[in-house]
């Protein structure tokens, strides 16, 4: 079940990062696109963490 969740996330990230990084698919995955995909996943996870942390703080302060 953990594997299913991992795969669901990979599908989701691939969907989002494909749109951000791939214009027209070429005959190879070039270096630029690969770097973009790696950064996209990393920054998406950073964004998720930033939002979750900030939200938790707000809830604890009762601001929401």
């Amino acid at each position: 079940q953990q594997k299913a969740q991992f795969q669901a996330q990979v599908h989701n990230f691939t969907d989002i990062c494909w749109d951000k990084c791939v214009d027209s698919p070429g005959s190879k995955l070039d270096y630029r696109t690969e770097t973009c995909l790696v950064s996209c996943v990393e920054r998406f996870i950073d964004t998720t963490l930033a939002i979750t942390n900030r939200f938790t703080q707000m809830v604890q302060k009762g601001a929401h």
């Binding site: 989002i16 990062c17 951000k20 990084c21 973009c36 950064s39 996209c40 990393e42 920054r43 998406f44 950073d46 964004t47 998720t48 930033a50 939002i51 979750t52 900030r54 939200f55 809830v59 929401h64």
Partner: protein, 55 residues
């Protein structure tokens, strides 16, 4: 809150991260915080409007 966090993350990532770089830079972090606040404002406005329409 899970659903809210997920949708907010999707929207704010799309709005604030143009080309993903090697870190979240300062302006991206500020954009995310602001986007998050506005998204929750929007959620509250929508919720209030929908609720009063149902009365």
């Amino acid at each position: 809150a899970q659903e809210l966090l997920q949708r907010m993350t999707d929207k704010c990532f799309k709005k604030c991260i143009g080309k993903p770089g090697s870190t979240l830079d300062n302006s991206e972090q500020k954009c995310i915080a602001m986007c998050m606040d506005r998204y929750m404002d929007a959620w509250n406005t929508v919720s209030r409007t929908y609720n009063s329409r149902l009365q």
